[in-house]
Amino acid sequence: MRAFLCLLLIGAGACASAPSQTTTSPTPRDTTQADVGRGATSTPNADPFPSTYVPFPSRTTVIRNVNLLTAAGPLIRNGAILLQNGKIAAVGATVDAPADALVIDGAGKYVTPGIVDDHSHLGVYAAPGGNALSDGNEATNPTTPQVWAEHSVWPQDPQFPRNLAGGVTTLQVLPGSANLIGGRSVVLKVVPGRTVQAMKFPGAKYGLKMACGENPKRVYGQRGGPSTRMGNVAGYRAAWIRAVDYRRKWDKWNADHKGDPPTRDLGLETLAEVLRGNMLVHNHCYRADEMAQMIDIAHEFGYKIRSFHHGVEAYKIADLLAKEGIAGSLWADWGSFKMEALDAVKANMALVNAAGARVIVHSDDPSGSQRLNQEAAKAMEAGAEIGLPVSEDQAIKWLTINPAWALGLDDKIGSLEAGKNADVILWTGDPFSVYSKPEKVWVDGALLFDRTDPSQQWRTDFELGFVPFTGTSR
């Protein structure tokens, strides 16, 4: 009874074909994992919109008598976790807690790390929707690396608190998939902020959104192109050719400072940062054959694809993903809504997991994002059905440490380990049950959602007066 979510809102405006320039072919770079984040020289101003995030006040808290799915090892039954100074201080069968710690009896419930959704459009396609809040696709040119998702994010999007209530503590907000190269993503903490900077995850790398297949050619087919998949590929390559050239000029100038610096170009600056390994590529791509071609393009220009998003055919090239070290940010059961989504199978995650590639449960949907645990549970069952059972210890990684890795934040979040940020969920029961929900959610040790306490339920400015406050609707 509802319109299927379509993130392809076509904007007005002329469309230029991506200019192409010849250049010397770049040396293929080593694309091992260690490579990511190696970047040396950077853009003239690498961080013009710095994070102003400050953790909310927290108190030392110990949760006892809980089952801990740590995403870093086997389930700890009847264990405990200590949150102190915004960090996880201790996890184990027992923990020592200071006398003044707030003690929560977990009563046999479950604790997991906060969920990380690496594919969100919260803020850029904010509720209540409509043209006024449609800010996710700069659909005026098929190649728009110059746009930054954070400049579209509305911090008062009422979808943010709902996501938090679903246990999501970190989000990657991406531009939409109308464009071949859609722009920069931003990594946000799901916290109330007056400004988007106050939500930005400190130190998080930027992501670059790229998109394959039907969307770009549909949006631009009648507007100057690309109108075909081969046109799409020509568009990516033309952009990277220019980026290689731009990077070389800037790297040279950064090294010797001879003469005037090259003219700045916002879009090429972003692409050069990808080539330097300072940004992570998130590539919307459905079909196996197209993913294989995107991998070749990445090799040609010496960048690394961090994760394929949607990847409904990832199971057909799971071996390739494993070999390349590329994650699959996948749906449990979405499919068949367009030609390139036709071959979706529920066992996709289990098959990709079995092949040794990183599986991520992603949403691309403000509703699904609130129930990523349920999506994981469906995928687990699909695996069990074909003889590839997935343990809860493994599935929790699909929701936490794996997407944290995709964002380059696996050293800070994504597992219950001493020293990590205290992004923690206390569930009402086994998180893979349809009947379980987050009861309490902490971000950096601060309790920011409590299902049992309406005073601990964040409401955005928009909701005041407009949305009846029920105190239980989360």
């Binding site: 009874m1 090239i317 059905e385 074909i386």
Partner: protein, 432 residues
């Protein structure tokens, strides 16, 4: 008047004894925890299916000689699920126009005569995945415009649409949420337009001879549309109105009262705000339990407790997909059980949730005598679940539709078989 009677007799009620579903076999499902829905749960119950129909349900039912036995010990037995809001079979691939047949062009956004099931594709590859997860019947609902057309209730059986049909039409469908989509400019105008059409239907009904002599004033809808609406103003065919905002639901209720229309509310995001009024007027609501987003100014009060609160107030509720994504009207019609689980999680009782995906929708659409419960005489639409049907770890182990068990592979199963073991080369894997 003569032709009007002929028209109203076109309601199809098939009795399910077509060649494709005829099944002389007797099946005895024994030892399970049986939820007939129409009556109390039966521990260690038996369900007998004979010739495609349920012939006996109870605790101490003799097993007919030669019956095929299904041991359901430790398992749960329910009626097959009824998804009452789908475009299954009329929309294969949302973004491939050639496969979309759920929206009529109509005239001035009125397509009352549109019988969506005439475009149903029984060979849709979406059928098997739905049935595999326990959905044995569905209502195919037209969409778009102000009056979208007529819905039908079908069983998920192979064969032709004629074979599948249980009852058609089962409802007239109108959408009162978005004036723009109906070619109008304000919500009030939507209601005015509906009133005008119903007025004209009344007039058409009582001046049919004058109409045939071209002696009537112009009408707001075509002859076929007005004909199709006669059962609606006679209260024989329910009007399913897709509407979210409280004020719009209220307006639809006033209209229904003025024209003696049997109203059902679909989607109904803010129905909980007026649950007592809906209960008093005996108006059923079709809604889901996976949406809490104020996704538009007409749905600011959307919450996951909607279904539970409505039941608590005494409103009859059918659960449908309402998350707003994931193709829950076609490919993921199968996720009805997830919807039910979430409804329970947000305040509905488990028994009510089961009823809301079985007998409640069957009754709303006039097919409670055919599907939705385990009673003698009902279609043999029965599912044996490995556990709680709403839980993800539970599998539909045996799915019977009209007494026949289906185990056929879905297109997804075939893809998995092909790609389960990838070869060292990038060649397509050989047949396994």
């Amino acid at each position: 008047m003569i032709s009007y009677k002929l028209i109203t007799r076109t309601v199809i009620t098939l009795l399910g004894s077509t060649a494709a579903t005829l099944n002389a076999q007797t099946i005895a499902i024994t030892g399970g925890k049986v939820y007939p829905v129409s009556g109390p749960v039966i521990e260690n119950g038996t369900v007998i299916i004979t010739n495609g129909k349920i012939s006996a349900v109870g605790a101490n039912v003799p097993i007919p000689a030669g019956a095929q036995r299904i041991d359901a010990t430790g398992k749960i037995v329910t009626p097959g699920f009824v998804n009452s809001s789908t475009q299954l079979g009329v929309q294969e691939i949302a973004q491939v126009n050639d496969t979309r047949d759920m929206t009529a062009r109509g005239k001035d956004n009125i397509a009352a005569a549109f019988t969506v099931w005439e475009g149903l594709n029984p060979n849709s590859v979406m059928m098997a995945p739905a049935r595999k997860e326990g959905v044995t019947s569905f209502v195919v609902v037209p969409t778009g415009g102000l009056i979208a057309g007529q819905a039908a209730l079908v069983d998920v059986v192979p064969g032709t649409t004629t074979d599948m049909l249980v009852r058609a039409p089962v409802a007239m469908v109108a959408e009162v949420g978005d004036p723009q989509s109906a070619g109008l400019n304000s919500r009030g105008e939507l209601i005015v337009k509906l009133r005008e059409v119903l007025e004209d239907t009344r007039y058409f009904q009582s001046h049919r001879d004058a109409f045939d002599r071209a002696q009537t004033r112009p009408f707001a809808a075509s002859r076929l549309d007005l004909q199709a609406l006669i059962p609606v103003i006679e209260g024989r065919l329910p009007l399913l109105v897709t509407v979210d905002r409280e004020a719009d639901i209220d307006a639809a209720m006033r209209l229904a009262r003025d024209y003696n229309v049997k109203l059902m509310i679909g989607s109904g995001a803010e129905a909980w705000m007026m649950a007592d009024k809906l209960a008093a007027a005996h108006i059923p609501v079709l809604t889901g339990a996976e949406n809490n987003i104020p996704a538009g100014f007409a749905a600011l009060g959307q919450r996951q407790e909607n279904a539970g609160l409505l039941r608590k107030a005494g409103v009859e509720v059918a659960l449908i997909g309402n998350a707003g994504g994931g193709d829950e009207e076609a490919f993921n019609v199968r996720n009805l059980r997830q919807e039910a689980g979430n409804a329970v999680s947000y305040g509905m009782t488990w028994d009510d949730a089961l009823r809301a995906v079985t007998l409640a929708p069957a009754e709303f659409f006039g097919a409670g005598d055919r599907v939705g419960s385990l009673q003698p005489g009902r279609e043999g639409n029965v599912v044996v679940w490995s556990g709680d049907p709403f839980e993800f770890t539970t599998r539909a182990e045996h799915v019977f539709v009209r007494g026949r068990e289906y185990h056929e592979k879905t297109r997804q199963d075939l893809l998995i078989e092909r790609y389960r073991n990838l070869p060292a080369t990038h060649n397509t894997p050989p047949p396994q």
